[in-house]
Symmetry: D2
Subunit: 368 residues, 4 copies
């Protein structure tokens, strides 16, 4: 990457992957800094890489970002499909996957765009890396994931909001569980990393936390529930990450809708665990799958601030001539890390994590 | 029922059926009024009719109800099983259903209880009526249902809180739906009456509302979605009551766990509708089942006030010698209605309902 | 008023007076119904009567009202000044109040407007009445007041949201009061009517409620506080309507900023009561003045629905040829009442109000 | 401090100073870990140092801390008076300040207490240090301040919750400000450090932030407001820390109630700024003083987790034989710092702070 002061005029921006609270705050900050401090023009591509491929874009002025700071979602639209290096095209009545990145570069040039800000998760950042490496396109990445599992940054925006939603749900389920002497299972996001489940479980006073990093056995789970019964606690609350899995077992298969990365959920781990608990213990057990509620809502102050800092930093770094990198939080500073490194390591809960120890001291079982 | 001033000393109280936000407010109000204004003693039976049958009870003082006004759930516990007139008993290794109401009357007498406040829904109020009619036990009912479907009262507590939870969920789903150009389906409570779906749908700006009272066809639903696409609206939000059903069709069968009134939910109407929409339209569709979250949380001010009025009125009416009745809201007053009438008529959404007309004017489709 | 079907083409709309959560929902509903059901054109005047006087207006299409349902405030702007019948004009270096209503009528005609929807409180509705009576302008009023004190309607939108904000504040103050053994005073809105204070006080478990309708003495207030101390309750929470006043006394005078109806608040009743309590009891006392927080935020589902019904009904009634009237809630229906009657009677808390009785039974003192 | 494994049996705990959301979570965690993991007995002193001086204490079992995790306040009570080294005693009709620390040590011994956990701010931690240094009492401190101004820890619990309350207030004021074209001033906590104002201002999209660390001039503030007017932005939102002060000027004097550390607030900086803005600009300006609302409410997940970690760590460190120290967050770890250092440095906003730069890039003025 270059370290000389860049002479950009026009910057593109897009949001890729599943939406997360804070995306609008990033866009707002980037537009404000670009326009006010550097006199850049900002072009927003619509619907993630889809807009880049189909050349759907519009100019973003300061006026376009007024009032969007507290709003969830993304004014640019997004999608978790549409990879320019692997794009489905109809050919002779068949779907063939093609590399349409050359077209993407043409589209970018057609707007006179000098550099690109790509806000997204693992998938989007890998595409960002490719565009940078293959076409030398000045790209800067902004990490986004509800799950907080990108290794190169201490935290991502959206996580704190999702954690609030999950904890509030646990608070609500507690009163019902207690009144009915039931077991309540809350399934939260987290395919590969259990951060939401771990944090919400500690914050919401759960009795059992199940996460992908720690395979559980249903015997240990029910043991915990029965121990609570014996000591007069008539209800229990379980929080399970969607990617939690039994020891030696498989992640519960969900029905996958063709062409979609996110399966329509039918019978995930929450339901499986609940059924087994009822069979083993005869205690009434109920399941709540939080699903997309975790992506929605107004971002928390923490997420708004982190997203604002990311958006501002992305433009500042570009203006300094730093690209091929991703902005990241290295508490308390915003820095960058090369895109190549950014997508390499996933942040997962390590068993030595201090919060795991605290959780266990609180009497929380991990099903082991 | 008598209209002479009653000379009660000890009053029993219990909460039956699924929990609802506001139960604690009723208990608190009843205890405060009974103790402060009339010098009565209040005995709380635990876990609904279960405590009445098994004689588990405790005295409730003013101290016991301090701080419970804003809390969800019920400090007395509840259950939606345990009917004294139809109670499962083990006999020769088999489960036989028996009438144990005579034992219940003995339990009541054992505490020297003169009158009983029964807070519950349809099922609990029917039991209340039986106890009154068969044993002449001075009973007063307090209506409770999240679904707001008890005909004899203008509104029940818990409904407003559930409506808030459902509307907040719609607000959250809107940002995600909009960002991803998806259809989002929210399944809410309402087996037989669609009040939550109707109100939340209007309050949350839904595009389609599906309720038990208005059988829908999937064709009309998808027609609405495609019409929105054509006019540039790339997303849609649907709210479906769990009891919504296709015209000429059946309510979607859910797996029912033995001995439980509330089935473990797998593949309810929400999932069914979503699958059919995806098949018909190829638009990505996601489902959220709100489930027990609707029962949880701190009651709204409206629910706290209504519950407080109900609890106070129950004791006042008993003291006036009115029983065999149920307290009810006849806006703006609290009155009573005979228990026999109370359980007769279900409040369902009528097609001529003014809110239905307003919803249609807002462009909302009912799938017809 | 006429009862024949009106042949309107263009309808004006404006929001006057202090803002209230739900104004946007009224505007949205009116625009949707006018455009979709009747093919009317809607012209929105900006900043209340100011826009009418200065002829600042813009056309409102369906697109303009997308997404505003859950938002507080009003997209049209508002003001609590600017009366067309009493408008300050600079003349020879002096401010003279003039009747500029003829100019207003010209402005209305300049847009080809046939009828006008005026959303506002007492002041705005009086102007509506004048325009109807003097100029025969087809006007329909929509009542708006946080305070819920318009006699002709069972409820106004905005009140439920303000009540939620006030009750949430009481919940928060309770924990602090309890931890510190303090008296906490919360001053809420309510110049002439104590509905917010009464409802929030019951919902939030206050110990003392002070409202304009019931003059209090500080002796009775402190008596209550000391009685609580004696019975082991170390803290107390008081909610006071801004218009509460001591028996025989005056409303506390606030500094009034020239030309403003709503005074900058310095030392209102909350502070006065707190000071006297500290002097009389030596118990630490703290004051919180909620102020404009009560006007803000996303409207509750109840308020969104009521506002939507009002907005839709306003257009429906106009189309039916009913004007010179105000829409109102006569539970459960939306009806109209002549504007002349609408502004006549203020809804105030009557001493015989059932909620007053309930509050007293809860042990709440009204300082009497 | 010793580093050998301590042989404690009984540990005392108290909460001192103003309450903060998360205190109950600390108490809960400490009790759970002490009882479950180490078999210690925990004795809770009531009302901070007051209970230590007057020997009011009770044993805390696991049962006592059930359900308190999500609750604001402190079950132990607190006070911001009562310094054992400077305690007001009546002597010959006069108040004399005495050192009663010897009595405190006797009280501690009377319970057989081996070590003491003191949760509090600057003042309480200084007392903790004195008890450790003068009496060699094994003490461990837990930092608590809403203001987040204790230099020895990256963050304190309570701050995130206060930040949420302040940001939510800004969101609410925005709609009102926008509708009325007003300036809204929000006064938040922060005597000496402006963290809440700075973070809430960035998260809530304020236009002006006034903090103690950056003296402002009213001219620069009004300049910013007029600049916004000129560019068509008709409203502005200002957030001011209570300790903000004009350049060369004095902190606004508030009326101080005798014997209270926290003055009854009348005419703080918020009101002063508002008045001057109205005088200079003739724009309607309104003030909201958040006050104690910032201390109340259910702690956010972040605060619940940090408080839980602090509480658990306090007991773990004591068990390891570490005392005379304070637990602190050195992200991502919980460590300790000697009490002597803990109270030395205040964390204030430095002008080089990256968030200040970001705020300025967002167009926010600091009145300079």
């Amino acid at each position: 990457m270059s370290r000389t002061k860049a002479q950009f005029k026009r910057i593109g921006i897009l949001t890729g992957g599943g939406d997360a609270p804070g995306l609008n705050a990033v866009i707002r900050a980037a537009v404000k800094v670009a326009v006010r401090d550097y006199g850049f023009t900002i072009i927003g591509f619509e619907d993630g890489f889809g807009g880049l491929i189909e050349n759907r874009a519009r100019r973003l002025s300061e006026k376009d970002v007024v009032g969007i700071l507290p709003r969830g979602g993304t004014i640019l639209g997004t999608t978790n499909r549409d990879n320019p290096f692997h794009y489905p095209v109809q050919e002779n009545g068949q779907v063939v996957f093609k590399d349409v990145s050359a077209q993407v570069m043409k589209n970018i040039e057609s707007h006179g765009i000098d550099a690109l800000i790509i806000i997204g998760g693992d998938g989007s950042l890998t595409i960002a890396k490719e565009l940078w490496e293959r076409y030398n396109l000045p790209v800067i990445g902004v990490p986004k994931t509800i799950d907080n599992d990108i290794g190169a940054t201490d935290q991502t925006f959206g996580f704190d909001t999702a954690l609030n939603t999950a904890t509030e749900a646990l608070d609500k389920l507690h009163t019902t569980a207690e009144s009915h002497h039931r077991v309540m299972v809350l399934e939260v996001m987290g395919r590969y990393a259990g951060w939401i489940a771990l944090h919400a479980g500690v914050a919401g006073g759960a009795d059992v936390i199940l996460i992908p990093e720690i395979p559980f056995t249903i015997e240990k789970v029910t043991e915990k529930l029965m121990e609570r019964r014996r000591t007069g606690k008539k209800f229990s609350v379980i929080v399970a990450a969607e990617g939690a899995k039994p020891a030696g077992g498989q992640v519960v298969v969900k029905k996958v809708v063709e062409g979609s990365f996110e399966p329509l959920r039918l019978g995930g781990i929450g339901n499986q665990v609940a059924e087994e608990i009822e069979q083993h213990t005869r205690i009434e057990t109920r399941v709540t799958v939080l699903g997309h509620l975790q992506r929605g809502g107004s971002p928390t102050p923490f997420d708004r601030i982190l997203a604002t800092r990311f958006g501002a930093a992305a433009v500042n770094f570009l203006a300094e001539g730093r690209y091929g990198e991703m902005v990241c939080l290295r508490t308390p500073e915003i820095r960058t890390v090369p895109l190549a490194e950014a997508v390499e390591v996933m942040r997962r809960v390590s068993l030595g994590n201090e919060l795991i120890r605290t959780a266990k001291q609180m009497g929380i079982s991990f099903g082991t």
